[in-house]
């Protein structure tokens, strides 16, 4: 019966039972929807007019920001091409709505109303208007479960926007509304108010989305690491309208990939290495390293198996099918790259030591 925790046999069963049981979620939503429908029914004309004016102002402001953004995007892409970056991530978002929440008070999972039929996949990042919400962990035909970043089982690779220090923001079981930064050295340059964004290193979340703001830092000389508490940027408990991010990676001139450039963009370069490598990373997508736990316990179902797959495929098998010019240097460096998602924790430690 508990094969579910270790193996994948039962995912089919779960898939079909979900199909049958989904209406219950909609049934549970009805009272709340009824109340809000009544509310909108009794809005006055004046309220609607003021809201309309406010929204139009907001659109104007955002259009202006968008103009700048387009310019910046093009510029960024040009610069990336100059650097011969291996890939350009083209993202598409789809709006989705929250229809349920896990009733277990010790987890943070929500149910959204888009499923396999809309192309949702396990590991897909989910945002709200303010920042990163979480990732899809289970997909059913019409719905999917999203593990929020504040869940104790979730860990998000982040970097400080101000200086680029990398860290891992994990949920805690003490407080399900906040995140903590694991293993942050006492000497790290981090301040209250620092904005954390996704670093893209876990290969699950795209780079640059706001995760949270540093709320408090406690330095206990008796402890090896400082306790950094982060308030999530997204409105974890309030947002109902969420965004699903579909990533579309397009490669740019990789034919003459040099060793150096692979090192420049390690996280993305491994995606673009020819032959078996794309497969490797396709299965490796879900890796979100957590320091203190074995990977299998961090990840649900299929993801847990994927981690095992990655460790079994040695980089040496993958590399010889690359270009014949591969030197021994290249092999070693790309082996480091391929194993990077799993050992990000170590990199983090080294970084911390350097500071």
């Amino acid at each position: 019966m508990f094969a579910d925790s270790r193996f994948n046999y039962l995912s089919q069963l779960r898939y079909y039972v979900t199909l049958v049981i989904t209406p219950v979620h909609y049934l549970a939503e009805l009272p709340g929807q009824g109340v809000s429908a009544m509310g909108s029914l009794f809005q006055t004309r004046h309220q609607l007019q003021t809201e309309n004016v406010r929204l139009q102002e907001q659109i104007l402001l955002q259009q202006y920001q968008l103009q700048k953004l387009e310019h910046l995007t093009v510029e960024n892409r040009r610069l990336n091409e100059l650097l011969q970056a291996s890939s350009i991530v083209d993202e598409r978002v789809v709006r989705t709505q929250l229809i349920g929440e896990s009733s277990d008070p010790f987890t943070k999972r929500v149910l959204i109303n888009k499923g396999e039929s809309e192309g949702v996949y396990v590991g897909q990042p989910v945002l709200d208007a303010y920042g990163l919400m979480g990732q899809v962990v289970e997909v059913a035909p019409l719905t999917s479960w999203v593990l929020l970043i504040t869940d104790p089982q979730s860990a998000t690779p982040v970097q400080i926007n101000r200086n680029g220090i990398r860290a891992i923001a994990a949920g805690t079981s003490d407080n399900l509304h906040l995140l903590t930064l694991n293993n942050m050295p006492n000497t790290a340059d981090i301040q209250v108010g620092d904005v954390l964004v996704t670093s893209g290193l876990g290969q699950r979340f795209p780079e640059g989305y706001p995760v949270g703001v540093v709320n408090s830092i406690s330095n206990d000389p008796g402890q090896p690491f400082s306790g950094v508490v982060v308030a999530p940027a997204a409105q974890i408990d309030r947002s109902r309208n969420l965004l699903l991010v579909f990533e579309n990676r397009t490669s740019v001139s990789l034919a003459d990939a040099t060793n150096a450039e692979i090192v420049l963009e390690p996280a993305q370069a491994s995606v673009e290495t020819p032959a078996p490598a794309p497969e490797v990373t396709a299965t490796a997508q879900p890796v979100d390293p957590v320091l203190n736990q074995e990977p299998a316990s961090v990840l649900p179902d299929s993801a847990a198996r994927a981690v095992v797959d990655v460790t079994q495929i040695t980089p040496l098998q993958a590399v010889p099918q690359e270009s014949t010019t591969a030197t021994s240097e290249l092999t070693t460096s790309s082996s480091a790259i391929l194993s990077q998602p799993l050992t990000e924790a170590e990199i983090l430690l080294q970084d911390g030591g350097a500071d």
Binding site: M1, R14, V24
Partner: protein
């Protein structure tokens, strides 16, 4: 199978009550109330086991448990085994439970739901799932026990007026 000759009526009442319990079990609650959420499904199931032990048994409990797991997104079989466990005890106790005073019934429910919570906790720990750090997870057994008289009276009224046999 002892009641093969007997006519079984009103199955839809049982189904509707269970679905209602499902809805009550997932309806969003404020955070501070979340740990106090009673185990509605378990309460309704226990009622039907006590009232109709010839119809509602371990297989029903298993089906309901699987549905609950899918609904919660929890480990498949987690709630199923917990519900089977308390259904088994209730099947052994039903003759006595029918004779109990309301207070005694509440205490029995407290023990049943409490052991269910402990079993769930134990399985979650064994499978290295997300586990609560303190004993707040047994709190729902208290609220369940307090709400048992209400569930009992309502369902009994329902069963009698709709002639569920």
């Amino acid at each position: 199978m002892a009641f093969v000759g007997g006519k079984q009526k009103g199955g839809w009442v049982i189904v509707v009550s269970i679905v209602l319990a499902f809805v009550l079990g997932i309806i969003p609650l404020p955070d501070w109330l979340e740990v106090w959420r009673p185990e509605w499904v378990a309460l309704v199931l226990i009622y039907w086991v006590i009232a109709l032990p010839h119809r509602i048994g371990l297989i029903t409990a298993w089906i309901i448990g699987i549905a609950m797991d899918v609904l919660d997104g929890s480990l498949l079989g987690l709630n199923a085994i917990a519900l089977i466990f308390i259904t088994y005890i209730a099947l052994n106790l039903y003759q006595r439970m029918r004779m109990f005073t309301p207070l005694q019934q509440c205490l029995t429910i407290l023990m049943l739901i409490g052991s269910q919570q402990l079993l769930i906790f134990w399985v979650q720990t064994a499978t290295s799932q997300n586990t609560p750090q303190n004993l707040m997870f047994v709190v729902s057994s208290i609220s369940s026990a307090l709400l048992w008289p209400l569930v009992f009276v309502l369902l009994r009224y329902w069963r009698r007026s709709l002639r569920v046999l």
